[in-house]
Structures are given as C-alpha cells and as structure tokens.
Symmetry: C2
C-alpha cells in the first residue's frame, strides 16, 4: 500500500463527460462536500469523450434512453442559448438513409416515438435526389452487389439531433464545478479500489467473507487517495477497476475508430440545403454496415465511422490506434458507392477510443454498491445522456429514489440500477 | 491458422456437465448428426463439474430456475430408480439455519414456492436442539459478537434436495452419448473461435463489418476443428472464448473453494437422525457468511465452503488452488461457533474451481448467435439444472421456440436467451 495523499468526501474516478456531470451535480446538491475528480489525462474530457464523433440524438425507442437524451440535449440548449456558453451545439439533424426493410422496422416504432414527443421528418426518394445530388439511391455496381447494398427507400431525419463540441461541454462542467469549489487532479491513474471491512478488526486477510464491505479509496500511480464515497465514471476502463473487487457492471470495452476525410469533391455535400438552418448535410447513417458520416464545417472535413457488431473483439488497449485497413475495407466501399464524392479520398487523420458497451440493453448503468457509485455502460451515447446520468448519480448519492432531470421530468433511479433494472429494450442502436 | 483436423456437424466445447447434457440431447434429437465434444481434461466432468460440492436443490424463487432444477432432479431420480444407473443421488435435504431476519425474508417467498410445488419443512428451535445436539443456537462468545453472528431462529429444510455424484452423472451422459455414436476428444483445449464471413470473398481482412458472420470452428492446441454448429459450454472459460469475437454472455469467473474436514468429533453430526431416510445431517447453510457444509458419508468427512459476495475478484486462473487462510479466517470462525464439533479440525484436503457467475439474474444463459449456441452462466447451480439446460440447448439448436423438459413441462427458449430475456429475479441465491 502506498502513502495516503489525501482524503475527500467524494472521489470521482474519471474526468470524462460522465465523471464531470456526476461531480457537478453531486457538488451542486451538496456544496459543502469536498469532491475530487481524478483522471489519467492532463485535462477534462481528453479520453473517450474527446474521441467520440460528438453527435447527439433523442431518437431512442426505450423511454429511459429518450428521457436521458432529450433532457440532456435540452440542457445543452439551455446552456448555450440562456447561459450564453457556446457548446457548438448545432441541430443539423440525424439522417437515416434506409432500405425498404429498414423503413418497415422504423414504421413499427414510429408511432411510439412520436407519442413520446420525438420530432422527425420523412423524405421520399425524389426529394433526396433533389436535396443530395451526390447520393446514389440504387447502387448497381458489381461491388455493391457483392456487399449486398440495398436501394435507399426513404430517409428519416431526427430533428432534435445534431452535433456538439465535447471539449466545450467538458469545459462548461469543469468551470461550474470549480466555481463551487470542486477539485481536479490530472495525470492520476486509478490502479485499484481498496475494499475493506466496514468494521475493521485489524486482523490479517481482511475483509472476510462475513464482513460488510466498504470501498475506502483508490491506489493510484501517485499514492493512495481515500474517500467516504467513490464514484466510478471510468468508461471503458470500469471493468478493470470493478472485476478485481467482484462487481459486475455488465460493460465490455469495444474499439471505436474515426477517420477524417477532406476533399473539394465533398464541398457540395457539406453545403447541402433543405435539412437544417446550418445548410449542411445532417449526421448521416447509410443503410449498410452502420457506416456514418458527420460534417465538421469548421474543418471542411467529414468524420466517418462504422457501427461494429459481432466479430469485433471486446478487448481493452491502453493506446488504441485507428487502422487504415478498417477504413479501406469496412467503410470506404459502402461510403463511396452511395456517395461517389468520397471516391479516392483517403483519411487525412484518424483516431480510436473505446465504447463502454452494455450489450444487455444499451442503456446506462447507475447504481450504488456500499459506498461506491457506478455510472457506466454508455454504449457510445454518453455525451448525449451525460447531464441526465449526472443527475441520477447525484440522486443515488443522496439515496433518493427519484431523480429530477433537466426540464422537470422524473425517473426512478432503480430503473437504471443493477438489481431492479427496468429499462426496456432499445431498438434504435446506431 | 493450423491444420484442419476434422469437420463435424456439431462441435461442443466442454465436456463438463453442461457440455455433456447439451451433446446428449442434441444427439438424441438428431441421431444422424456427427457430434464431437472436446475438453482440455482427460475425461468427462473433470473441470469445475468435479470441483463443485455436488448438491442439488429445487428451492429457487424464480420460475425458470425452479423449472430447470426440479425437472433435472426428477430426471436424475428417473435415471437412478428406473434406469438403474446409480448417481449417488440421496435426497438428504438442504437445511437453512436462519436468523429471525432471514426467516422473515423466507416467509415473504414461502407461499410462492409452495404454490410452485416446492416441498419444505420448518423446524423450531426446540426441535433443532433435540435433533442436532452439537448445534449452538445462540452463539455468545466474544468472537461470535465480533463476527455479528445471529441466533438461530428457525430452520427450513428443502425436501427434494440432496447430494449426487457429478462423476456418475457425467458417466451416465457420456455412456448414452457414446451409445448413439457421439464422439469425444480429450486433452484438446479450445484456444479461439474462428469468425468468418457467411459469404466469403477471399479478400484480405475478412470478415468485414458489413458481412454476415458465421463461426467456422475452433483453433485448439492440436489443430483446427471445423463444424456447422458450435456449442459453447465452457463454463467459467466462456468469456475467454467469446470476448475475442465480440459476444457478451454476461458471465464472470469467480473462485470456489472447498475444504474437506474429518474427525471423530463429527461422528454424531454425520449420523443425525430425523431429517431424512439416510439418517444424516442435510446439506446445511449457516446464518452467516454463506458458510455451508455437506456430509460425505462414504468418506466419513464433510465438505465445507462459503458463498462469496462482493470483494472477491472476478479473475480466471488456469490452475486455481484453495487457500488454507480462506478456511481459517472466513469459514472456521463461523462454523466452529455454531458447531463446536468442528473446533480444532483442519482441512485434510481442499480444491478450488470456478463458478460461471451471471450476476444479472443467477440463471443460465442459453441462446444462439449465428451458428454458435451458448449454454453458460450456471452461477454455481449447473449440476442441478444441467438436464434442463441440455434440453433447451437442443431446442435452440433446432430453432424451436419451446423446450420440453423432463416430465413434460415446457419453457419458452427465448426466456433464457440474451435478447428477450425474461427470467425474474432469483431471491434464493446460496
């Protein structure tokens, strides 16, 4: 055991978006508590938060996900328009280009989503041809047949969706947390959680099976930090911390790769009109392979990725690197067939991070076990649910059964807990 | 990639009790298929199956667990009494010695269990004193106060519960499977599952994200074995095989340690009358620390263990060893206070294996993903549910929505699957 370097009321492990929101809301509710946030990076939001594609959507089918996402997006709107803090939130929309079969799947959930107040618009083929002249609705090449690319039957645009700057969101919560007296320590990596007996006897080998457990603190690369309550907001690293203390959070790390593409052939796509006030193409998902692209107007580039399914490993790496071959074989063939304006363009930049995948229901896991609070399992949609997750974590911290989300909607905290989980199946996984 | 050493219709990974039952029931339903079972051990049932405490109970609160356990126990009864194959099944009962608080918990679920046909009997303190003279109902020593040992308020005996010989059960299924032409290969360790494109293009880096996946076979320490269908019945090793191919089965390995205790001071306990025809003490669970003991009359010894909770790691080891200190500090203090006849006795033998813990609902996970069938998550009760698990695996193999368990009771296979799981919370975890 290493030297104790500090004691706090609350120690938050992870200064990603989830750790920041949790720290902020707990501090806001309990201004007199000393709260320390630690992170292995040198600044907030530098891990998987910074490596996301930074898009937000409220188009989820499960009530919990919708509540989490829509209240978080509403909060970001409020921060930007009412508090005047620019988050680069632009509601350019999410655009699903769908095959006939996919549209049937969408129709089955359309009514439910509408009733839940989700706003979207449907586009016919003719409109799409007109709006996005670069789009090939009926790929017919030999390659597209081999890949099994379907014709685009319609498009569905989620309207209260768009893009943000995760760095700005992180900055907002960092500032507010600091204003209240919250503390950060960077370059501090949590190595292990110290589990102990609630009532220590100072005998060898404690804690014993028959003792109640408590989590005293965290061993780090710079000594031991103790706390009354731990908040584990370590994203894809969470199982590395929880497996050794016998807590299953139902999370597996999965690599996410993003590629930046730039070229004058993309100018027309970038300045697409008719979908939004920004006069740009929405964040767009193609009908095959989960291939998506996001316009980044400030950079005159697109960020491109694909949603991985079975066959890609759950495996954590300390310094993940995006593989150019992943772009070449998995993304490019589909992207360039539907949108030939991407033809012959190679990534000018790329990066990789990790999803903290909850395969069970693709919904956050927030719970308390003894004096340890978990906030994990974002499954790739952490940024769009972060504020709600922070509020639920704060409710769990105070042992309150309900959390009040931004805008006043309420949710029972136990619904996203481990024991009496009740979140419903999410049908709209990107 | 190594040389292909064989191709089979079905390849079952693991010749533990679950692999054996799955292989047997699939073969029984499909006698013309070639089915190979591989295992790293040198004989069936030599892994965690042999390292269990070999007890069976039907006292579960969730309908699925009850169905699985009671139909499996009924099948074992049938094998032993009607087929004349001795499984050493002895219905000596499970005896829960409970505190007042624990009994209140039991009362809350008693009616439901009775309605589901579970037979049990309750014993008052006076009866217990008479039946088990060695038992201390009200531990009062300094040590028992420190440990927080409660008085024993009552006892509940599950009647259709008892002990078996896992080796004999394994032998039974092995024989029957072989009679039908089923094959085994031992000393073969599955190293990795080969994931491939359903429609291969013979291009570099397949399978791609946009290709449908299929699992062609298994790399082993003795070459590659291919199959039309894989059955993963690898117990606590399952995540080692599934994580690399991106399938989450919600299972974590947890160490289980068993200690063998022998001594003439235990003779009276061993020959306890009044609980069963065998005139022995039932498999008994103490009110603290999940400490339990099982009489092994043939050995004139008791097998003793404890149910681990939070604080013990989820960590797989190739060759786990039981730690004497685990007995000394976690089990002995409780055991010797409630039953001083264990005082001063040290383990004469010990062993360790692994649970394949499903923390979600402590219920088996059986599902098909592409051509891969999973049967895992036994959570320490595999032997008592094995026959039912095998029947559900066989139903899943044939894409049948329902499985018919021994005795004719039916269960929808999807209830124990990953996608539309519906098993209810188990309240009676040992």
């Amino acid at each position: 055991m290493s030297t104790e370097t500090g004691h706090h009321d609350v120690l938050v492990i992870g200064a990603g978006i989830i750790g920041l929101c949790s720290a902020y809301h707990i501090k806001k509710d309990n201004p007199n508590l000393s709260i320390l946030v630690i992170d292995r990076s040198s600044a907030p939001g530098q891990g998987d938060t910074a490596k996301s594609v930074a898009a937000v959507r409220d188009t989820f089918t499960s009530e919990v996900n919708r509540l989490f996402a829509s209240s978080t997006i509403d909060f970001y709107k409020h921060v930007q328009s009412e508090l005047g803090f620019n988050l680069n939130l632009e509601l350019i929309g999410y655009l699903w280009l769908v095959s006939e079969k996919q549209f049937k799947g969408f129709e089955a959930i359309e009514d439910g989503m509408r009733k839940q107040g989700i706003r979207f618009r449907t586009f016919e083929r003719e409109e799409l041809t007109q709006l996005i002249p670069d789009l090939v609705l009926d790929p017919a090449s030999e390659q597209s047949k081999i890949i099994g690319m379907d014709s685009i039957f319609k498009a569905v645009q989620g309207l209260d969706c768009g893009t943000v700057s995760p760095e700005s969101i992180a900055k907002f919560y960092e500032n507010e947390f600091k204003k209240m007296g919250g503390e950060f320590q960077f370059g501090i990596e949590a190595k292990s959680i110290r589990v102990d007996a609630k009532n220590r006897l100072d005998l060898p080998g404690e804690p014993y099976v028959w003792q109640d457990k408590v989590f005293r603190g965290v061993e780090t690369n710079h000594g031991y930090i103790s706390a009354e309550t731990l908040v584990i907001a370590a994203g894809s690293r969470t199982p590395l911390l929880l497996d050794p203390i016998g807590i299953d959070c139902f999370v597996k790390p999965k690599k996410r790769q993003v590629f930046q593409i730039r070229g004058s052939s993309l100018d027309r796509l970038m300045t697409t009109k008719g979908f939004n006030e920004q006069n740009t193409v929405p964040f767009t998902i193609l009908p095959k392979g989960g291939v998506y692209f996001r316009p980044v107007r400030g950079e005159r580039s697109f960020w491109v990725g694909a949603a991985d399914d079975i066959g890609r490993p759950f495996r954590f790496e300390e310094e993940p690197i995006a593989e150019e071959s992943y772009y070449t074989y998995n993304i490019y063939p589909i992207l360039s067939e539907y949108l030939p304006c991407f033809a012959n363009l190679r990534p000018v930049n790329s990066w990789a991070g990790f999803y903290d995948i909850n395969s069970l229901d693709s919904t956050p896991v927030i719970d308390r076990i003894s004096n340890c609070i978990l906030a994990t399992g974002m499954s790739g949609s952490g940024i769009m649910k972060a504020d709600a997750v922070g509020r639920v974590a704060a409710a769990v911290f105070k042992d309150e059964s309900e959390a009040v989300l931004f805008g006043g909607r309420r949710i029972s905290a136990s619904r996203v807990g481990l024991t009496n989980r009740s979140v419903g199946k999410e049908e709209f996984v990107l």
